[in-house]
Assembly symmetry: C2
Homo-oligomer: 140 residues x 2
DNA sequence: CGGGATCCAGAGCGATACTG
DNA sequence: CAGTATCGCTCTGGATCCCG
């Protein structure tokens, strides 16, 4: 997530181009393995809240630790809201904030692009592999 | 970049939801530190080609190794095209492909969101810090 | 039930040095 | 000029155990 130390070092070096580039910082967040999927799950839930266990079930493959960490990050960033029911077995509910929902818009665009074009990327990779497999016979 | 081994394991476990989710795979690519910036630099160059050294100059902070690696990935994925002038000091030119340019569209949306809303995320983080600094005095 | 703490393997990435 | 190879650090993220 681009540690503060790194950014400090850059600023100390005198190049202030970095603060102009919040894109990297955003990508560092949504690029973290489970973030975008959690946002999608919450977005699909509409305005409803989702409990921790439900989130875990709807996010296959996530460990409880990483789900916990992801939810903490998103909460700190103000993208999701946390509500705790102080019952004896505590129930914790999560939902997207307005900010989180607004992020979901460009994120959905990216998802759509991915679903539409990842096959082309796969095909491109396949071509490269094929070219390296056969030695290099251009003509004929 | 979500190793093939990981995906194999998941398929072996029987949950085939993952291949349905190319978003993760896309984020693994554009989430890699320099990818989105290189795409932006090339997109800003219009349909023109940019040489390696130019790219490096316009992508402050990148090492020649990481730029090289990033360009290789993008080339394999068919997002950029590579043209080599076989002169004695070789000149290599890069440009976005149509696929790369189409990716730049949702990516630009994400950049716009970042520039518009990262301050809110920073503010949210500041609030959390403040709340943890002062013990916890709610009323008043 | 929800989540914090710890340990550990692996990937990302930077610095440096060498090649065609 | 453009790239490859090696080393080493850091950070991610998974497994496991423990707590309220």
């Amino acid at each position: 997530m681009t540690s503060p130390a790194t950014r400090q070092a850059k600023q100390a070096r005198g190049d202030l181009f970095d603060p102009d580039c919040p894109t990297r910082r955003l990508l560092d967040r949504i690029g973290t393995k489970w973030t975008s999927m959690v946002i999608k799950v919450l977005a699909d839930a509409g305005d409803g809240e989702v409990r921790f266990a439900d989130l875990r079930r709807r996010t296959p493959g996530v460990s409880q630790k990483m789900l916990s960490v992801t939810l903490q990050s998103l909460t700190r960033d103000g993208l999701i809201a946390r509500r705790v029911e102080p019952t004896v077995p505590p129930k914790v509910h999560y939902r997207l904030t307005d900010l989180g929902r607004s992020l979901n818009v460009p994120l959905t665009a990216l998802r759509d692009w991915a679903e539409a074009h990842m096959v082309e990327i796969d095909r491109a990779n396949a071509v490269q592999s094929a070219e390296s497999t056969r030695g290099a016979n251009r003509s004929t």
